[in-house]
């Protein structure tokens, strides 16, 4: 097991990057604690696979260092780093049995047969696959094959970390859930450092202790589910996490209030003071969970026009238009909402503000 540390780590596929846009992974520093479960979350092409390949040693970063337990491994390959990886599509050795598949990494390292057998049986028990051991691996289902891939990592005692590259892509939905639970159990049991790449927020949030959100080659936030939900550091995190994502709307400052389009929205004094002290393009963000109907002219409310109210069982999703901006709101399913003009409270204690897409920390209570 290892504590993984990045020092000013960055990668550009072309030499001599001129601007930050040239980086597939913009320089950053970060620490992943030993035994932690981390998820790399972001849309396709955000650089999460680049970061994963740098951790696994399949890719040498163009700048910065990777440290495992304080030891510089930047130039080492996957083999010397002792990491294990589970790929998007199951990688198994078709001609071998399940047993031979699991034994393969150990035999390659020249372990005695008796020890190989003990380890393989241990891992098969953990994975619930003891009965499948004598079977041909190629005849198994996709989820069983992914478990074998994972097992090939688990059999090695010295493994520094296990990396997962969107491992559930080809798995049936209900098996996904089972596998995630099993993975969680294995993590608690063995205290391994696990790194999990995905573009699925539910997967990331249920699996990981901490989620690293990435976009355009940049790490925009690292934090637990609650922080990502309530205090997104970047407008992208707000928009990307949650379903639907955070409502984001450009605002401007006015005398004693903020302006959303042509409407004045009153906010509390400390928030206003904080906003006044920043410069840059301001954005207001509020989660659909916190938008609610308000009385006429109530503080923090705006006039909007409901365009759709959709019953979704345990809540109704109300879509409204305010000055050309769309606001989604999750409301009680029993609440009667009809298409037409309403007041919506958008400046609430849960509302966050962004300056040039970075979250502004509001100093006094009540803000963020």
């Amino acid at each position: 097991m290892a504590r993984i540390e990045f020092q000013n780590l960055g990668h550009a596929y072309r030499p001599n990057p001129a601007s930050l846009d040239d980086y597939a992974l913009q320089p950053m520093s970060m620490v992943w604690e030993d035994g932690g479960a981390y998820a790399l979350l972001g849309p396709s092409g955000c650089g999460k696979s680049t970061l994963l390949n740098i951790v696994s040693g399949l890719l040498t970063p163009s700048e910065g260092k990777v440290l495992f337990n304080g030891r510089d491994v930047t130039l080492q390959g996957a083999r010397e780093r002792n990491i294990a990886q589970v790929f998007q599509f199951p990688v198994i050795y078709d001609t071998m049995t399940v047993f031979d598949n699991l034994a393969f990494p150990l035999r390659n390292r020249g372990l005695p047969a008796a020890e190989v057998r003990t380890r393989v049986h241990e891992v098969a028990d953990i994975l619930d696959m003891a009965r499948e051991l004598p079977r041909k691996a190629s005849n198994l289902s996709a989820d069983a094959k992914q478990k074998i891939s994972l097992g090939r990592g688990l059999v090695r005692k010295d493994v520094a970390a296990i990396l997962f590259d969107e491992p559930l892509t080809v798995i049936d939905p209900h098996m996904k859930w089972m596998l995630r639970r099993q993975l969680k159990k294995i993590h608690q049991q063995l205290k391994l450092t696990l790194i999990y790449v995905t573009h699925d927020q539910v997967e990331a949030l249920t699996f990981a202790d901490e989620v690293v959100v990435m976009t355009n080659g940049r790490v925009v936030q690292k934090g637990g589910p609650e922080a990502l939900f309530l205090r997104p550091d970047h407008a992208f995190v707000g928009y990307f996490i949650g379903s639907p994502g955070m409502n984001l709307c450009p605002v401007s400052l006015d005398e004693g209030a903020i302006k959303l389009g042509s409407q004045r929205v009153t906010v509390d004094a400390s928030t206003l003071a904080t906003l006044k002290s920043t410069n840059g393009d301001l954005k207001l963000g509020i989660r659909p969970e916190f938008v609610r109907l308000a009385g006429d002219g109530e503080a923090g409310a705006v006039r909007a026009h409901v365009t759709r109210a959709q019953q979704l069982g345990n809540y109704q999703l109300v879509t409204a238009n305010c000055e050309g901006h769309v606001f989604n709101a999750k409301m009680e399913p029993g609440l009667r909402v009809v298409d037409g003009p309403v007041w919506l409270r958008v400046a609430a204690p849960e509302t966050v503000y962004f300056s040039n897409d970075e979250r502004i920390a509001v100093r006094a209570a009540g803000g963020a």
Binding site: S56, A84, F87, T97, F99, D100, R109
Partner: protein
């Protein structure tokens, strides 16, 4: 499930059936027809039953040709398949080098059969051919028109030169279809270069290898033009293979009956051997014993 019964649907198969009938079944039936008759002239023929078949089966010329044919095809597979796999493994995976290698490799495949024969016929001549001349100058007594061994080796080398690229191209395509993740996993698992070949590349090439083996077997079993141009089947009958034997019978001597009988036997031999080869490879690839033989209980 409830499948609707619609006998009229058979009509949809009729066009295909007619095509196949005219292209394959009718000609084959003509051959069957010939094989049981003695064709004396276009208007005169007598039914002879299985006589031609009995004659053919006991013909020592046929037995000789069949024996040579089997040895030749076995040699072709033995050399061309490993060589083709080796070439495919050695070829660059991408970039201009890969394109260049592909073009060079495909070159022999583009040359017509009889030209291949002519090329080697000249190439091997002891007086003016580069190969023959050089060999004789360095003291090898090489003459494919006089020595059966030399003739054999020349025909075999010619076939290897002509057709190994096909095997290599097929294997190359098979290799390129292996996702990078397999190599990365093998690297992580600490696999040796040989283990990568044995447990990843070879199993993944199984499908294309099967095609390569079958194609090369069938083609080499039917080889005609190249040895005909190169040696004419000689010296003696040392390089007379089945096709040439058949042609001599059918065209040279106009023994249509025996030739037809032999064609059928020829066809059945190829079918049978392909069937055996296919099943053998299928079993080796899939249901074979656990590869590393470790006690799995």
């Amino acid at each position: 499930m409830n499948k609707p019964l619609n006998q009229k649907a058979w009509l949809l198969v009729v066009p295909v059936f007619i095509c196949v009938a005219f292209s394959a079944i009718l000609p084959l039936m003509t051959v069957v027809n010939y094989s049981v008759q003695d064709i004396i002239s276009p208007t005169q023929h007598v039914f002879v039953g299985t006589e031609w078949f009995r004659n053919i089966m006991t013909d020592p010329d046929l037995r000789g040709a069949l024996g040579r044919q089997i040895i030749f095809s076995a040699c072709v597979l033995l050399f061309e398949i490993p060589l083709g796999v080796g070439l495919a493994l050695a070829m660059p995976a991408s970039g201009w080098r890969a394109s260049a290698a592909l073009v060079v490799l495909a070159m022999p495949l583009l040359i017509p059969w009889n030209v291949v024969g002519t090329i080697w016929q000249i190439f091997g001549r002891p007086d003016i051919g580069l190969l023959g001349y050089v060999l004789n100058r360095i003291g090898v007594d090489y003459n494919y028109t006089a020595s059966p061994t030399d003739a054999w080796v020349t025909v075999l080398v010619m076939d290897i030169w002509h057709w190994t690229p096909l095997v290599a191209l097929l294997c190359y395509a098979g290799l390129r279809a292996i996702p990078d993740a397999f190599y990365q996993a093998a690297e992580i698992d600490g696999a040796s270069r040989f283990a990568v070949f044995r447990y990843i590349q070879l199993p993944k090439m199984r499908g294309v290898l099967m095609i390569a083996v079958l194609l090369r077997f069938m083609d080499s079993f039917m080889i005609y033009t190249e040895p005909f141009v190169l040696t004419g089947g000689g010296p003696g009958d040392s390089t007379t293979f089945l096709s040439q034997y058949l042609t001599q019978k059918a065209v040279g001597q106009f023994d249509l009956g025996p030739a037809a009988a032999f064609s059928l036997i020829y066809f059945l031999i190829i079918l049978l051997l392909c069937f055996i080869l296919y099943n053998w490879m299928e079993r080796v690839g899939k249901g074979g014993p656990a590869t590393t033989g470790e006690d799995n209980a």
